[in-house]
């Protein structure tokens, strides 16, 4: 091991230390909000060492098990932002619902470490390990509210689906190892070119199961609505964003580095899965009344859009589009979930009809929610619009016009149910006119999410540059 390598994993070390520190803070303080505040500050501070890595040459460290490249740095930033926002939201949502509040923040930070590791692994052992790491913390977080039957159910279901998916994925990994005799991704990439095609496709198919589960791609999406509905709302937000982003990061790294499409053409398969995910997610979202379930189904649909970015890997649009989409989607989706958390906290309901008259009772939140809904639909000038634009342009660029058309049609379908939320908030009459209390930390998180959504939508150039450079650095 080269001691200089340690300087390249300072963000990871910092976050790990932070998580352990949080456990200690939690031990010695009765005011659990302190733990949350420390977590947010620590998370934000980790941006500094991450930023230092930004301009560095791409390389692998620690005997080739870990990548330091623009791609990894991009996901580090994304993860840290998402985790900080979720922590802020949880600080207002969680108190009174569980007696293990301090550990919650620590587990969130641990999950952040795991997600970061997942996006930067260049060794299949580490990749499998970090995927499982994310899964394990996610199961715990989903089932965190022990007295709540829905949370129990979410935890058990998530665990059973997830553990099965990872068992299948690990079998796929074992075959990949057998085809190459090495665990290093780049070494595998060198040797896999003379690997037998059938065995390789079997292995890729099995691995896709695992990643498909993480990113809730059809047909591995069944867990999504139940888990999102049952899990604590901040956790659902986190799962729908960060876990999905890291899943895509790992999938992109695996597919792009290891499997050359000229050898094994995975493009048509993934394109079809993308189209099916978009359409099915949308159709199932249409009749939903529960906002969390609706967002769950719509996140399946978004997974389909994101898959277009994976499929359209040639050219300047697809993969950068994927990253832009992910970042924009992170802000938007988190924001939408935060509003749901706020309303859920105040009104004790997650049903969309209960949002009636929200524009008068909580004008700021309602306005932001409207922005998020428009953004999720993909209307300008919002962040998801930029992402969708790039991804669809990528599809056309790669000669997948039909996929782009499916995407556009689906965006139009999705307008129906997203607009339904806006309609409830602005047009339907309010059952009471009592203004809703809007707690501070949640407001901050909401504000940041709203700002992020709009800024990326209005002035996307820096993000586009960042995404482009990140993608360029992917292949070492």
């Amino acid at each position: 091991m080269n001691p200089a390598d340690l300087w390249s994993i300072v963000p990871e070390l910092w976050l790990t230390g932070l998580a352990i520190f949080l456990l200690l803070v939690d031990l010695f303080t009765a005011r659990k909000t302190v733990v949350g505040v420390v977590a947010v500050i620590g998370l934000l501070l980790s941006i500094i060492p991450t930023g230092v890595l930004l301009g560095q040459d791409p390389r692998t460290i620690l005997a080739g098990t870990y990548a330091v490249d623009g791609f990894a740095v991009f996901f580090k930033i994304l993860t840290v932002i998402a985790t900080a926002l979720v922590t802020l939201a949880a600080m207002d949502w969680l108190p009174g619902r569980t007696q293990y509040e301090g550990e919650f923040y620590a587990l969130l930070v641990f999950t952040a470490v795991a997600l970061i590791l997942m996006a930067a692994s260049t060794d299949i052992i580490l990749l499998a390990l970090s995927v499982e790491f994310v899964s394990l913390t996610s199961y715990v977080l989903a089932g965190y509210l022990k007295g709540n039957v829905k949370s129990n159910e979410a935890g058990v279901k998530y665990f059973l689906f997830g553990a099965t998916a990872s068992a299948v994925m690990l079998f796929g990994f074992s075959i990949l190892y057998g085809l190459t005799g090495t665990t290093n991704l780049y070494e595998i990439a060198r040797r896999v070119s003379d690997a037998p095609l059938q065995a390789l496709s079997l292995s890729v198919a099995l691995m896709l199961t695992g990643f498909g589960f993480k990113i809730s791609m059809v047909p591995f999406h069944q867990w999504t609505p139940d888990v999102y509905e049952g899990a604590p709302t901040p956790v659902a937000a986190y799962l729908s964003v960060a876990s999905k982003a890291a899943g895509f990061a790992a999938l992109v790294r695996l597919l792009m580095v290891v499997v050359d499409p000229r050898q094994l053409n995975w493009v048509p398969l993934l394109a079809i899965l993308a189209a099916v995910s978009m359409t099915l997610g949308n159709l199932l979202a249409l009749p939903q009344r529960n906002i969390k379930r609706m967002l769950a189904y719509s996140s399946i649909s978004h997974a389909g859009f994101l898959l277009i970015g994976v499929v359209a890997f040639r050219g300047d649009f697809g993969t950068p589009g994927l990253l832009i989409y992910l970042l924009g989607y992170t802000f938007t989706q988190l924001g939408a979930f935060f509003v749901a958390a706020l309303i859920g906290r105040q009104l004790g309901t997650d049903d969309i009809p209960d949002y009636a008259g929200l524009s008068r009772r909580a004008p700021v939140s309602a306005l932001l929610m409207a922005v998020f809904m428009l953004s999720l639909t993909g209307l300008p000038p919002t962040s998801v619009f930029v992402g969708k634009f790039y991804v669809l342009a990528g599809a056309i660029d790669n000669g997948l016009l039909w996929l782009a058309i499916v995407g556009v049609v689906n965006s139009i379908i999705s307008l129906y149910y997203y607009a339904g939320v806006i309609r409830a908030m602005y047009i339907m009459p309010a059952p009471s006119t009592v203004p809703l209390e809007e707690p501070a930390a949640l407001q901050v998180a909401l504000g940041i999410a709203g700002l992020g959504t709009l800024i990326i939508g209005l002035y996307p150039q820096p993000i586009i540059d960042l995404a482009r450079s990140a993608v360029l650095l992917l292949r070492i």
Binding site: M1, I9, T16, L23, L62, A63, G64, T65, Y66, Q99, Y100, E103, A106, L107, F110, V113, L117, D123, I125, L126, L129, S130, E132, F133, L136, T137, Y139, V140, G143, Y144, K146, G147, G155, G178, L179, T180, G181, D194, A195, P196, Q198, A199, L202
Partner: protein, 163 residues
């Protein structure tokens, strides 16, 4: 010849109880059948000269995981009865899926030319695994410890009774 005999015995010791695990109507018997399966797998590891993995396999799988499973079965009343239906309506579907997938994988395995190497196995040394963990795989080793810590915390939080 002797090796083949040992292999066949171990394969049977592994697979026959495995079938009992997934088909038995008595959940405790299912759980106890895991033990011969795990021991058979251990035997396969020994045949493959992976003795350290074999030792860990017994210690963790047979000694810890099975005990944990038995523990939970016995703590959750209603799970242990034999009159309870243990299978869902998907039996034919599940059997079909399993058989088809198995058939597919076997087909691929037989049609693949695996990249054998001619080098003979070196003298097996437990130390080489330890060295690998602390040199090339040091990050994996450290992350594994983190995973253990986190699952410990998580399991305690979730399993503890709410006061």
């Amino acid at each position: 010849m002797g090796e083949l005999a040992a292999f066949i015995i171990l394969a049977c010791v592994t697979l026959i109880p495995a079938v009992v695990v997934v088909t038995s109507g008595n959940i405790v018997r299912s759980a106890l059948s895991l033990i011969p399966t795990f021991l058979g797998v251990t035997g396969l590891y020994i045949l493959l000269h992976a003795e350290f993995v074999a030792g860990i396999q017994i210690l963790i799988y047979a000694g810890a995981i099975t005990v944990l499973i038995l523990f939970v079965i016995m703590l959750t009343a209603g799970g242990t009865g034999t009159r309870i239906r243990q299978v869902n309506e998907q039996v034919p579907l599940g059997a079909m899926a399993a058989v088809w997938l198995g058939f597919l994988i076997l087909l691929v395995i037989f049609r693949t030319r695996w990249p054998y190497t001619a080098t003979p196995a070196p003298q097996y040394n437990v130390a080489s695994i330890g060295t690998a963990f602390l040199t090339d795989y040091v990050l994996i080793f450290e992350v594994t410890s983190l995973v253990l810590l986190v699952s410990l915390i998580g399991a305690i939080i979730v399993a503890r009774r709410e006061e």
